[in-house]
Subunit: 197 residues, 2 copies
Amino acid sequence: MLNTEEIQFYLHLFKGLSISDLTGLFNMAHTRKIPAEGIYIQKGAFAPKLAFIKKGLIRAYHLKENGDEITLLLRWENQFIASHDVIILQQPSRFTYQAMEDTTLLEIDYNKAQSLLDNNPKLSAHRNLFLLHMLAESLERVESFVLLSAGERYLKLLKEKPDIANRVPDKHLATLLGITPVSLSRIRKRIASGHKH
Amino acid sequence: MLNTEEIQFYLHLFKGLSISDLTGLFNMAHTRKIPAEGIYIQKGAFAPKLAFIKKGLIRAYHLKENGDEITLLLRWENQFIASHDVIILQQPSRFTYQAMEDTTLLEIDYNKAQSLLDNNPKLSAHRNLFLLHMLAESLERVESFVLLSAGERYLKLLKEKPDIANRVPDKHLATLLGITPVSLSRIRKRIASGHKH
DNA sequence: TATAAAAATTAACAAAGGATAATTAATGCT
DNA sequence: AGCATTAATTATCCTTTGTTAATTTTTATA
């Protein structure tokens, strides 16, 4: 299922884990391909699945009554993606998860993975590190809303993920930053004209 | 160190844990009292400590160049408090943690706790649940910035923690919500005058 | 390449928010 | 209780953002 190159890659990514630790996980994983614009998790879905993004980009969005979409989350290659409603809150997903590009996932049943991780201290320790990392990410995003202006949040996003602007329409970046597409367009204009923010 | 009533309380709080699981943790914990206005973690501090708030309220804030304070976090009784800079990012705390009331903490050395948890699967599983819970909390706060207006965020805060308004000055609630105290005052006026949002 | 569709920009106006300062209210302290 | 300090509100003015709609640009596709 995995070739030598991939094994090397994952051993490096999950450093500290042995090949046998990894193979247990990979044996219960399967590859899933989502075409661009395809839906990975439908709003209302309740299947506890966790996926590693090998390639591509997934967007989670909320659908407003008037039909407008608000993007809550973008996840890309080498990140994990899951509905936190399903996994953490154990409720149907309030959001829809859509591929923005042709996307390849390594998908795993969360409950099965759980029991495997629970019985392997080394894997448990890694899960712990991953959770801490995701918590830090989320806290940093909260900070950006409290401490930064919309323009500063936009610049920060571009700095941290420069290719995002070529992979996701600005209108989705705008709602991700908590503003409207029109407002982001004005911010971009201000930035382009050398203005401070 | 703990009386029967407290043991009952903690067994219920950390349900699924045995008394022996708990005592191991409590034996390495010590009580710390912070008077109102006192500092728990100074900006720049690097001590890896984790505390359970038995009583009181802690505020984490950022100090701007002009002297203004921006509140990032409020934590109260029966919640854990730690500098995520120190614990997760392993860097000196960028924020100051200050008690808003006379506060009683059960404090533990994070590194010592870690090794104890690492060697006890039941405790590890609980740590995992706590991390998931904190992640959910943080994600929900991100959602509130993306999906709600400032007024809606304020009403949501009051609904989830009604006594907060009597325990923390509005100016701190304002910056916690990402707005200025003046703006919160206007929002309160709009709400009082029966307006929508 | 031509055409249709979607995205981005711009405009105009209204609403909300930020900055500053003055005023009023609440709180703390001796 | 009286006084000083701090918090909250209000006012003014200016900036930013939201809303809607028109226009331009880009992208996708026949």
